[in-house]
């Protein structure tokens, strides 16, 4: 059974009446979040692409197969990449779309391309000595097999990045697992040698690490995830101002749901 994203208080607040939100829903038969992570993260020049910190931008693929929504997740609400991803893992994704968006360009193949200012750590090698975990993509690939998938199926839906064919210490690029090893703002666990930290968000708490705290970080804006848009949720407004938004959203080839705030 599949459902939409949960209506909880998120890092960026609660959903607003009359707003349209791109969602990636949850399903008991869905794929793990890790299947949609971009590993290694892809560095992006926001100015060249025409992206701004506010709002989203529709980007047609070069082959014309679909149009994606590119969205910079703000560090003021999600200081760490893992803040956003762990929220998505628990509640699905819900990101506001402008009412003036050309919804007609969105369809089932559209992705919500998530960018974060701390997505790529240029000096990731400085933190590597303290890392010991395998790549999350590898773990997710294995989890599909645990759930009964064949290796072929697991590789098809959650392939291990080719850059990670070597064991972790020999990685040639930054591994997305670093997002969970480089979490700032958490409460450190007393007496733990592994720098375990408990990071609280408005609706949940997750465990991560803050390794090599003394190392200077050189972050770059990068694409961190490419999430399928499973539906558009429009939030019902007391004064009915959601109605034109529903009409606009219905121009997409995606399911549109009218939800309460």
């Amino acid at each position: 059974m599949s459902v939409g994203a949960a209506a909880v208080r998120r890092g960026c607040g609660v959903r607003q009446q009359g707003g349209a939100y791109a969602e990636t829903g949850l399903s008991s038969n869905g794929l793990p979040l890790e299947a949609f992570l971009i590993d290694p993260p892809i560095r992006v020049d926001a100015e060249a692409i025409g992206l701004t910190a506010v709002g989203v931008k529709l980007m047609a693929r070069a082959d014309g197969s679909a149009t994606d929504v590119w969205d910079i997740v703000g560090t003021e609400h999600y200081h760490n990449v893992a803040d956003f991803l762990e929220e998505v893992r628990r509640f699905g994704m819900s990101r506001r779309l402008p009412a003036t968006l050309d919804f007609g360009r969105l369809g089932p193949g559209s992705r919500h391309v998530v960018l974060h200012a701390r997505g790529l750590l240029a000096n990731w090698r400085d933190l590597a000595p303290e890392r010991a975990q395998e790549c999350p993509r590898v773990a997710a690939n294995r989890s599909l097999i645990v759930r009964g998938a064949t290796q072929e199926t697991a590789d098809r839906y959650c392939p291990v990045p080719p850059t990670h064919e070597l064991p972790f210490p020999e990685h040639q690029t930054m591994c997305c697992g670093l997002w969970w090893d480089d979490v700032a703002g958490g409460a450190p666990a007393e007496g733990r040698a592994d720098r375990l930290t408990s990071r609280s968000m408005p609706s949940f708490t997750y465990a991560a690490r803050r390794i090599a705290p003394d190392v200077a970080r050189d972050y770059r804006l990068a694409i961190v995830a490419s999430l399928p848009i499973t539906r558009i949720a429009v939030i019902r407004a007391d004064d009915g101002r959601h109605e034109p938004v529903v009409t606009a959203a219905a121009k997409s080839a995606l399911p549109v749901a009218l939800e309460d705030a």
Partner: protein, 312 residues
Amino acid sequence: MSDTISTTPETPRQPTLLPEAPLAIEATDVPLSALPDDDALVGPPPSRELVEAIRAVGVLVPIAVVVRPTRRRTPGGYDVIAGRRRIKAARLVGLERIPAVIVEAPDQGPLPDALTIQLQQQKGNPAAELRAIERLVAQGADESAISRATGMAVGTIRARLRFRRLVPGLRSAFEAGAISTHVAERSARLSVAQQEGLVETLDEKGRLISTDVHAARDARAAAALAALPLAELHAAPDATELPDELRHLTPMTAPVPTVATRDVAAAAEVAIDLLRDLLAVVDDAWAAAGADRDNQPEPARRARAFLAEVDR
């Protein structure tokens, strides 16, 4: 005796926004014929209420004008700092003179920058405003000081300063009025290379409009996009052929080892979830075979007992 030498910190010299000598200011009436024509007074016409109020009681609040002594007798020799709508309303009701505060500027040399800015705001000339602001910045004035001296909002000052990003070809066209303020604002956000391309467009077509700027911006975005290694972004899992269910995310309750499992405690929780899932599979298989659940093998019973203990 202390080796410390006490010194008074040198106070930074404040920029001179107005001339050292005070400007001559007088309050008097000026003939409306000495003021610029209505067409030269940029801005909306006066409201009906304003016209009627002036018809009833005259102009109570003086307008502000600046004039050079040698131009006092010249029709239109006054530049209006404030009061464009009052002037238009006064003309509409047939007045011949209007009360004014007159700032007398020096006959020679440029007008003080603070006055220039106020004048150019009245005339709607952002290029001239920019030049005046740049001169003040060169004197060491910051945005707040300029704002205090001119009455211009800090946001407006910043907007004007963004024009400094224009390449020389566009800057000169902007100052000459060959491109609109809107086009200049949009162009200033582009890279130097893109702006140079717009200069070529301007040279070829003799004009530059918003569509040209948008085209340059989109071309740049397309080129930047093409340079990105986006294969993985759309390929895996396949974005267009992904079955609907697989386009969703597995909720946290499913036995998926996550990165949080790298913590031992979290790993234990996931292992327990995994055990529950496996038992559910056993139950399904047992039920499909029509067998009694109570007769499941010993390991299954022990696992169930373990979970019951955990739940307690």
